[in-house]
């Protein structure tokens, strides 16, 4: 089982976390929704798997490239 690090594509803030640790997700399913410059940007895992860690909480500021979650695929 490979651990996949999910990085934020943008600098912004975490608006809503839509998944929980332990939850299984499909490929392309959003883990959380970020916001920046009046836009909502979903963070998705390209592969399906199980959410192992969520490294941010709602309202946190995130930087481009920052790891926000870990999915085990």
């Amino acid at each position: 089982m490979a651990k996949i690090k999910i990085a934020s594509e943008i600098t912004g803030a975490v608006w809503k976390i839509t998944t929980q640790v332990g939850q299984s997700i499909a490929a392309g399913e959003p883990l959380m929704i970020l916001e920046s410059m009046k836009m909502e940007i979903p963070v998705v895992s390209e592969d399906g798997g199980t959410v192992r860690e969520i490294l941010v909480k709602e309202g946190d500021a995130v930087q481009e490239g920052q790891i926000v979650a870990i999915v085990e695929g």
């Binding site: 943008i10 803030a13 920046s36 410059m37 836009m39």
Partner: protein, 445 residues
């Protein structure tokens, strides 16, 4: 009298309104959030008042803070700019109730046009047709599906309480409908504090053609021609021009006159924009009306030689239309604007950062709220600058705009300049075969 105005906005439009105030001998007062402290235009105002923390809800959308700042600075009016509180009828009413001049139309107009299905009904009663659409969607999935079937796919899901392309989702097939409605409802509730949605027929490759109108308080209305704003990403404009290419002037004149007739019958006041879609057959349908200054007002200013912001302020202080507009107004040459955004040029994802280098091209009109060394924060929209050119014809305007875009030196954030230049270089844009899907096709988004 209107001797001083507070500008309830930020960035390029705040800078623009400060300039218009100066030209009229009006004292401009700026406001700023914590994120905008030190912005270059603040120094151009007489006073700048801090109105709160960076998030817009706490500052530029905070009505108490804005009206409090107006009281503190002792101004006689408030200019809302565009975005933020500019189309908030309750705010406009509060400004008036505070004994101040609201630089915009009467609140009843903001109210009437702000609710998109009611606006469609209102203008339809006066003979301006919209594309086929639904009433406000009920909550039951079966009713939503039925409404979409009655229109026929593809449809657009749109928030009734707001515009600007936010929360608008295209739906190709029935199985995508309910998920799209749910997403749009979440965005609409968040963005406009109103989860009402409706459906509209999605036209095939439409052009976005809008008409600038100006009106006084005595029912006099005139139009200042059209703007073609078809080059868009995420249903938001990025390149605008006037005149619209390839449409007979008699057709434009007839449309403009029709709009003037309807708005004067209804008694519209101050400036506004009637947005229309033109389908492949050349038929126009009403899209929405924006009861405020438009981001692309500079395009109309360049072809008419008028100062629309000064005109707007003079109309708000009660001057008659005949005083503020020459007779006749003519279009001279061709104007084109590009919006330079802090975003990547491929997927248009936001790119905040520090402007290590920020040098706009010289010898061309650039409207910006930024200077070198400034911070582009994630809190507001990604507009860095508008660049507006004017030339004797479209071909020369296009060449001039491309040169201007090539002349920007920006480091520290990604920008959409490569995408803008790709549009300007495309055979479709050059030949005037423009529709709202052009930019998406060019960048492959």
């Amino acid at each position: 009298m209107l001797r001083s105005i507070l500008i309830a906005n930020r960035g390029a439009v705040a800078a623009r309104i400060i300039r218009a105030c100066r030209s009229l001998g009006i004292r401009p007062v700026a406001v700023y959030s914590e994120a905008d402290a030190g912005a270059p235009y603040l120094a151009e105002a007489d006073t700048a008042v801090a109105i709160g923390p960076a998030p817009a809800q706490a500052s530029y959308l905070n009505q108490d803070a804005v009206i409090g700042a107006a009281r503190q600075a002792g101004v006689e009016g408030i200019h809302p700019g565009y975005g933020f509180l500019s189309e908030n009828a309750a705010f406009a009413q509060r400004v008036i109730d505070a004994g101040l001049v609201f630089v915009g139309p009467s609140p009843r107009w903001i109210e009437a046009m702000g609710h998109k299905t009611r606006a469609r009904e209102l203008v339809a009663q006066h003979g301006l047709q919209s594309s086929p659409g639904s009433a406000i969607l009920a909550a039951e999935p079966s009713a939503i599906t039925e409404a979409a079937r009655a229109i026929g796919f593809p449809v657009l899901v749109k928030p009734a309480g707001g515009g600007g392309g936010i929360g608008m989702i295209a739906v190709e097939r029935e199985d995508q409908l309910l998920a799209a409605v749910e997403r749009a409802r979440s965005m609409a509730t968040r963005g406009f504090a109103n989860g009402d949605l409706y459906l509209e027929k999605r036209l095939d490759r439409p052009r976005h053609i809008e008409f600038q109108v100006v009106a006084d308080r005595d029912g006099h209305v005139r139009h200042l021609f059209e703007r073609d704003c078809s080059v868009q990403r995420r249903n938001q404009k990025v390149i605008e021009e006037a005149p619209a290419s390839g449409i007979a002037r008699t057709e434009i004149e007839a449309r403009g006159e029709r709009i003037v007739e309807v708005l004067s019958r209804l008694g519209y006041d101050n400036i506004g924009t009637v947005e229309m879609l033109m389908d492949a057959r050349g038929d126009f349908s009403f899209l929405e009306m924006n009861t405020r200054l438009q981001v692309e007002h500079g395009v109309t200013e360049e072809v008419t030689g008028l100062d629309l912001v000064a005109i707007q302020i003079r109309l708000a202080r009660g001057e008659p239309l005949a005083h503020v507009l020459p007779e006749p107004v003519r279009i001279s040459g061709h104007a084109m604007q590009a919006r330079v955004y802090a975003e990547d040029p491929k997927r248009f994802l936001p790119s905040p950062g520090t402007l290590r280098t920020f040098r706009p091209p010289a010898g061309v009109r650039v409207e910006t709220g930024y200077a070198e060394g400034g911070q582009v924060t994630p809190f507001y929209d990604p507009l860095l600058a508008k660049v507006i050119v004017h030339a004797p014809d479209r071909r020369q305007a296009l060449a001039r705009l491309d040169r201007a875009l090539a002349g920007f030196a920006i480091e520290g954030v990604k920008t959409n300049i490569p995408a803008l230049r790709a549009v300007l270089a495309s055979p479709e844009f050059v030949s005037g075969e423009i529709d709202t899907g052009l930019l998406g096709r060019i960048v492959g988004a």
